[in-house]
């Protein structure tokens, strides 16, 4: 009786929030998030911040602690100007992939918005961070705070010891290569100490063996080398030793640059560690926002059903929700690409629909889960095991392609016109889906640049190779600027060759 009474009472009635109300709302949200949706979250640390602090957080890529660099000051100045002139609002929240999961809520939010934001960030994003495989494999949510504190102090200490300019030079260069500072496909495995010692022994033995072997090769097998002009055993072993080709330029520089001091290497390491930490977020924009938006939408509807939200609060949340998931069409002046919130949310809702009310088409396309009685598990499974590219490739249904009226526009620089190559019809579904999935594949979006050779005993030229796909080259001006930075870090000549993959 008493339980029914409290359930029917609205959680709050006015627009103003207090910590007591936040506490009450959070408990109600948690009940649904964990009990009903079966989410699994890190403990929450919800922090209320002011607009200025939000701008601060903006400028430092959303991280709670950051070393100091002029570019963050520049971003702050720009965001502040936009905000003060009213050309850009501020986010309602920022959430950090850490354990405990920190979310920043703006103090200006009304109580209804705080509720929405908690459901979105403290449960939606939080669950995603904790369960998605990319985050599990690539980020250390428990250690990030300590690492950030270490990075900040280390760089401050360097500034004190080596001067602002010297540190700035290294950071500028490292930032320029940040996107090339991640391992996309796999990191070098971390050997245990025992393994390392074993490797050390093997390596020593190997080297002795090699030098004897080289004697032999030089003396007796020299003739063969002339026959095989392309094969250069010296270069080959060198490349093997340096783990080449290497896609992670910052890692390579850190390990092999002939001119960098240990502290400079450590700075490169810091920059690349943070790049790697943020890399999963770049790969899961649609899913992450889709998951959080789905969670907040489900929870506020549940709360409203239970009579725990007033109509006013519910309408305010719905208003904000619809704004967030708006997808303008391509010819709309507001169009600026596909809205990850819109696509992500629509896909989550669609998965739920396919489980609950599958059509014939759905059964044909998604035999694995169409009509699955446990849509919650299907969604949780999707959130855990995919990234944007594979998620779209697996879960985008013809129904949604029709709903969004997606079509593919082929743009070939050699043709005078753009050609509509696929539309939302039976023969186009798969192709549109593939094209869309591809446009979320970072490995495809970002240029593929690798270190292919560096002869430390010879001319020490660092050779990079840019694998050109689909005839798309690098933007020239920026390329030259980045190469200058690269030269500074390497200390010797750097060359970048474009190799066309298709030819």
């Amino acid at each position: 009786m008493q339980a029914a009474d409290t359930a029917a009472m609205p959680l709050f009635t006015g627009p103003e929030w207090t910590f007591e109300l936040l506490e009450v709302a959070r408990d109600a949200i948690e009940e649904i998030a964990l009990g009903d949706l079966g989410l699994d979250v890190y403990p929450n640390q919800i922090e209320i911040i002011s607009a200025e602090q939000m701008l601060d957080a903006y400028s430092c890529v959303g991280l709670p602690l950051m070393y100091q660099h002029w570019s963050f000051g520049k971003h702050f100045a720009r965001d502040e100007a936009l905000y003060r002139t009213g050309r850009q609002g501020l986010a309602y929240e920022i959430v950090i992939n850490s354990n405990p999961c920190i979310s920043y809520n703006m103090e200006e939010n009304t109580m209804a918005m705080q509720t929405l934001v908690m459901a979105h960030a403290a449960f939606g994003h939080n669950h995603f961070f904790k369960n998605n495989y990319l985050f599990q494999q690539w980020t250390d949510a428990a250690g990030i705070h300590d690492y950030l504190a270490f990075a900040k102090n280390y760089i401050a200490a360097c500034e004190e010891r080596y001067g602002l300019t010297a540190v700035e030079e290294v950071l500028d260069a490292a930032h320029a290569l940040q996107a090339q500072g991640v391992f996309r496909y796999g990191r070098p495995p971390k050997p245990t100490i025992a393994e390392r010692e074993a490797m050390q022994r093997v390596r020593e033995g190997h080297q002795t063996g090699m030098s004897i072997l080289e004697l032999w090769t030089d003396a007796t097998l020299g003739r063969n080398r002339e026959e095989d002009a392309d094969f250069d055993p010296e270069a080959s072993s060198r490349r093997k030793q340096m783990n080449l080709p290497q896609e992670n330029l910052l890692y390579f520089l850190e390990k092999h640059s002939p001119v960098l001091e240990p502290w400079q290497c450590e700075i490169l390491r810091i920059v690349r560690m943070l790049a790697q930490y943020l890399y999963p977020q770049k790969q899961t924009k649609v899913m992450n926002e889709g998951c959080a938006t789905f969670v907040h939408y489900y929870i506020i509807n549940k709360l409203f059903e239970q009579g725990r939200l007033t109509e006013g609060a519910y309408m305010e949340m719905m208003h904000s929700h619809t704004n967030v998931v708006l997808q303008p069409e391509f010819d709309d002046p507001r169009y600026s690409g596909i809205n990850p919130y819109a696509l992500g949310f629509a896909m989550m809702q669609d998965i739920r629909r396919i489980c609950k009310n599958p059509t014939e088409e759905d059964r044909e396309w998604f035999p694995d889960f169409a009509g699955d009685p446990d849509w919650r598990r299907v969604l949780r499974d999707a959130w855990a095991n995919y990234r944007d590219e594979s998620f779209i490739q697996q879960f985008l249904s013809p129904h949604l392609i029709r709903k969004f009226k997606l079509f593919t526009l082929a743009d070939d620089a050699e043709q005078s016109h753009l050609i509509v190559s696929q539309i939302h019809n039976k023969s186009g579904y798969r192709a549109v889906r593939r094209d869309l999935a591809r446009s979320y594949d970072l490995a495809y979006l970002e240029p593929d640049i690798q270190v292919t050779d560096a002869d430390l005993k010879g001319d020490r030229e660092l050779k990079l190779t840019h694998t050109v796909r689909d005839g798309i080259h690098l933007a020239e001006e920026d390329k030259d600027e980045v190469l200058k930075h690269l030269r500074r870090l390497w200390g010797y000549d750097v060359s970048l060759n474009a190799v066309d993959q298709d030819s």
Partner: protein, 445 residues
């Protein structure tokens, strides 16, 4: 396990370090813009820098954060777009200007798409940059000369003092409180009683009752009157006097006299240089003093006090008698700016011409009347752009220059300089304000 944390009270300016690094990096371009904005501003409103800051737009050249990224042009691309209305496979579209769809967006995403970067400098940052070349830390000490006067300051209340310092309000408040506390009979209660007694007395034939009443009333009246005498209206206890203590008062008011020759030989260029000279001095002083005023005195063969607009832009014809302006300045000081209350600064710009032997008179006026009351007096002579000979030889010069040189020899807070282009202005100020031990006496040396 969860908790809420209120971070709003955390110290502000977490990104101050980033901002300083950013300003340092963009220093050159910011400085250039600041210099330009100085030229366009009026002196009077503090160089026109609003308290909330100055918006500056600088070229984004040195602020780029380059990255390897795909060119937005060329190659074979596929864009997936929402909202197909009536396209069918094979339809062709004209290529939109400035790259299609995503291509266009990407270019601006990294923020380097535009060549300019706009943001707001706070007033302090603006001035810091403006005075950067002036080595401000050295200046502050030297230039914030403040006169001192002995004044008095209120120092609360005492119970003893002279009648002219009696604080009526406090005294009356004490008196009222005491009267209420001791229940001093009011004048009205006594007059009421007296009236009743009178009424009874007027009755010819009083009943014994009335007699008794009268006697009682009289007794009461007597009690009241005695009480009224004992509890005085104002008691020495109530008295409060204001006290004052003598104190040295620092005058943080400054007045800048801008003196300029506006005869025909002073053209646009000369006036622009003069304006920058005045503006910089004024800006510097507004930083050091709480309150600054400007007085504009222009002269030909006679001097006038005018407003800023007239000073810089109105035309006037006539000869050149410099001493008239100095006379005028002396007059205005006597009238409105007593030197013990004001820090007086003089700034004079001229092209160096003067009538006959008026220059000797100028020397006398400066040495005898003006310099003793001024904190600082600066003179600039604006010379031809290609007058290297003059710039490099402080010994050479006309009458006025020679006489001022004699003044300079005698007064440490008098400075003179020749300028021929805007870039000379900063170094002059450095010369003007730099401690003597470090700086040379002349720009040319």
């Amino acid at each position: 396990m969860h908790h809420f944390i209120d971070r709003r009270a955390n110290p502000k300016g977490k990104s101050l370090g980033n901002r300083q690094r950013f300003l340092e990096r963009a220093r050159d371009s910011i400085k250039e813009r600041v210099d330009r904005s100085v030229r366009e501003k009026s002196i009077k409103d503090g160089g026109g820098i609003p308290a909330e800051g100055e918006k500056v737009t600088i070229p984004s050249r040195g602020l780029k954060e380059p990255r390897f990224h795909h060119s937005s042009k060329g190659g074979r691309r596929r864009h997936v777009l929402p909202g197909n209305k009536d396209f069918v496979v094979g339809d062709t579209l004209k290529r939109p200007q400035g790259g299609a769809g995503e291509g266009g967006k990407k270019a601006s995403e990294d923020g380097d798409g535009s060549d300019e970067f706009s943001f707001t400098l706070t007033r302090d940052e603006y001035l810091e940059i403006l005075f950067d070349g002036l080595e401000l830390p050295d200046l502050v000490e030297k230039a914030t000369v403040e006169t001192e006067t002995i004044g008095t300051r209120r120092a609360g209340l005492t119970t003893a003092g002279t009648p002219n310092n009696l604080n009526l309000v406090r005294t009356m408040r004490n008196s009222l409180g005491r009267r209420i506390a001791l229940q001093r009979p009011s004048a009205k209660s006594i007059s009421d009683l007296e009236q009743q007694i009178n009424e009874l007395e007027e009755i010819e034939a009083r009943t014994p009752d009335q007699d008794a009443q009268l006697a009682e009333l009289r007794q009461r009246l007597e009690v009241l009157e005695r009480k009224r005498r004992v509890v005085g209206y104002i008691d020495p206890l109530d008295l409060r006097y204001d006290t004052y203590v003598p104190e040295k008062i620092r005058n943080s008011r400054a007045v800048v006299f801008c003196l300029m020759d506006v005869s025909g030989s002073m053209q646009e260029r000369e006036k622009d240089l003069a304006k920058r000279f005045f503006l910089l001095l004024h800006l510097f002083l507004t930083r050091s003093y709480e309150h600054t005023e400007l007085v504009f005195v222009r002269h030909t063969h006679h001097a006038q006090e005018v407003d800023e607009e007239t000073f810089f832009y109105a035309r006037e014809t006539g000869g050149t008698i410099v001493s008239t302006a100095l006379e005028k300045m002396k007059e205005i000081i006597a009238e409105r700016y007593p030197p013990d209350e004001w820090n007086i600064y003089g700034a004079q710009a001229s092209d160096g011409e003067n009538f006959g032997n008026d220059s000797i008179r100028c020397k006398t006026l400066l040495l005898e009347d003006l310099l003793p009351v001024c904190q600082f007096y600066a003179y600039v002579e604006i010379v031809d752009e290609n007058a290297d000979m003059l710039l490099n030889n402080p010994e050479v010069g006309e009458d006025l220059w020679q006489n001022f040189r004699e003044v300079k020899a005698q007064a440490a807070h008098f400075e003179m300089q020749r300028v021929s282009q805007p870039s000379h202005i900063y170094p002059i100020f450095r010369e003007f304000f730099l401690p003597k031990a470090q700086g040379g006496q002349h720009a040319g040396s």
